[in-house]
Amino acid sequence: MTAHAHPVPVPAVGWVRLARRVLGAVGVGMLAYGVVRLLLVAPLPDLFHLLLWLVSALVVHDGLLSPVALALGATLGRWVPDRARTYLQGGLVAGAMITAVAIPLIYLEGSQPPEKALLLQRYGLNLTVLLALVAAVSLALYALRVARDRRSDPAAGPLADEDRRVR
């Protein structure tokens, strides 16, 4: 652990202030162009459905996915010792990244005519293979860590985890 300072607001030096103004103007311009074009081009029912998608995205992400992920993290923090948790968390994060992309594939597999060569794989099986790979790598890293800890402090033994929990 090293010493550090609280975040000090970055002084409003010349280039930061200028960059903020320029970026702000460009951003607002692009944003406004997109919104205006959408309003002009898309028919009313399309706009209504788009609004529905936008609101649902916020509700599902902020109200459902995030709380579930945080609750899982809190549960792990309570029940799994720190040393093991490091590798369990790492594996879960990597696995979640892969699963996020795999879910639509699993849901839609086999939905297309075979000539399209589209969604013909067994994605449920493939995801299982990838997650098993992630689990194997996480376990191997954990085993290495345990072995290394033993070598550096043979007396600590299996109690090392307990020590780390109370910090």
Binding site: H61, D62, A117, V129
Partner: protein, 403 residues
């Protein structure tokens, strides 16, 4: 280990974030990657849009033949990788949603509204883009227009967000990941107003029992790396063997090339296989080609990929008639514009127009990879040109109009 200081005003039931993993330094690094990725998607997306609405003064080129394959492959691959990436980025700032008090000022309310627009538009853009590439259209809106203009909303919001957060970004990128203060629902200004309200003094870097902050970045990066490796096979041919999450597999298509619109889906199975088929070419001197005229004339060859707007692509060998030869015979030349019409009775892409470098390079193909075209690939005759989006390579041709 310093406890996150709590502002007294917060009610007990208000969410309290205790994880020490989040920090501006972590968010800034995730945001840097995500911002670059979104910029790549925006630029490649606009390029692709110019396939459908070409600029008359700057037509799409036809050489090198892999341009569209690369730009659109990158667009879909990077967009796919953004889905997990944006989830981690949002995880890193989730406590900001629960800042207390929720609306401190008008400026604060505006900032929150702009973040809501940014988050909603980005999530919808990435998710609908991905499922559109799976040929699933549960949108309730016309995808092409919405994807095009929502891209401006997303990118504009990102640029605005960078402007608003620039001081934090500068701080975050200048601070080591492990050293930065914990990001919680308590704003950093309140952190420094702690206790006696004195000047902030150096404190120890926050402890992160379990996974470290760098560990989060490494684990997320590894997961996203796996996603890229296992989905890229649909456009990066050598990666197909590890394409466990690839949506298209080129080798499973007829003649080793996938199909986007099947003959059955286009309702042309009988029309295309009618022995009385002919191609009408209209120009200053119109003429007609019958099915028996095709094979003897099909001597031009080309090797270039077919690349779809959905991201998949594969190299292929084509044989057929040079379109420019027919255009000249009909009284046109390299400066002509040609309208191509399909046998398809309906559909957004039953016609297309071609001009400029692509017109000169285009083939009316009869053969694919050494064999007569499969009916799903556009038998008896289809357009194919390098650097031209898949759906614009009109299949089952019935008429050309040289203008």
């Amino acid at each position: 280990m310093p406890e996150p200081r709590s502002p007294a005003a917060r009610p007990r039931w208000w969410p309290h974030f205790s994880s020490t993993l989040r920090a501006t330094a972590v968010t800034a690094r995730l945001g840097r990657v995500l911002g670059i990725a979104i910029a790549i998607c925006f630029v490649t997306g606009l390029l692709s849009e110019k396939q459908y609405h070409p600029l008359t003064w700057l037509p799409w080129p036809a050489t090198p033949v892999w341009i569209y394959r690369v730009t659109q492959g990158v667009h879909v691959l990077v967009g796919t990788a953004c889905i997990p990436l944006v989830l981690v980025k949002l995880w890193s700032v989730y406590p900001n949603l629960w800042r207390f008090p929720p609306l401190a000022s008008v400026r604060n309310a505006l900032e929150r509204a702009s973040v809501a627009v940014l988050v909603a538009a980005t999530l919808v853009q990435l998710v609908t883009g991905f499922i559109n590439s799976l040929d699933w259209y549960p949108f309730g809106f016309y995808f092409v227009d919405v994807h095009h203009y929502l891209a401006w909303v997303v990118t504009g919001s990102v640029v605005l967000h960078v402007a608003v957060k620039l001081p934090e970004i500068v701080h975050g990128l200048r601070t080591r990941v492990a050293d930065d203060d914990v990001l919680t629902e308590v704003p950093p200004e309140e952190h420094s107003l702690d206790d006696a309200g004195g000047a902030p003094e150096p404190v120890l870097a926050p402890a992160t029992p379990g996974l470290s902050r760098r560990g989060v970045l490494v684990a997320a990066g590894a997961g996203i790396g796996v996603v890229v490796l296992t989905t890229a096979g649909q456009s990066v041919t050598p990666l197909e063997p590890v394409g466990l999450l690839a949506m298209r597999q080129w080798h499973r298509g007829p003649q080793g090339v996938p199909v986007n619109r099947t003959a059955e889906g286009a309702q042309v199975v009988d029309l295309a296989q009618d022995p009385g088929w002919s191609l009408q070419v209209d120009g200053t001197s119109s003429f007609r080609l019958g099915i028996a005229d095709l094979e003897p004339a099909a001597t031009a060859e080309g090797r270039f990929p077919i690349a779809c707007v959905e991201g998949w692509s594969v190299g292929a060998s084509w044989r057929g008639l040079r379109l420019i030869d027919l255009v000249r015979r009909a009284g046109g030349d390299a400066s002509s514009t040609v309208l191509l019409e399909s046998l398809e009775p309906f559909g957004l892409y039953r016609t297309s127009t071609i001009a400029g470098p692509q017109l000169v390079a285009a083939l009316l193909a009869t053969h694919l990879n050494g064999r007569r075209l499969d009916v799903d690939h556009g038998y008896p005759l289809r357009l194919i040109a390098p650097d031209r989006a898949g759906v614009l390579n009109t299949k089952w041709l019935s008429r050309l109009e040289v203008r």
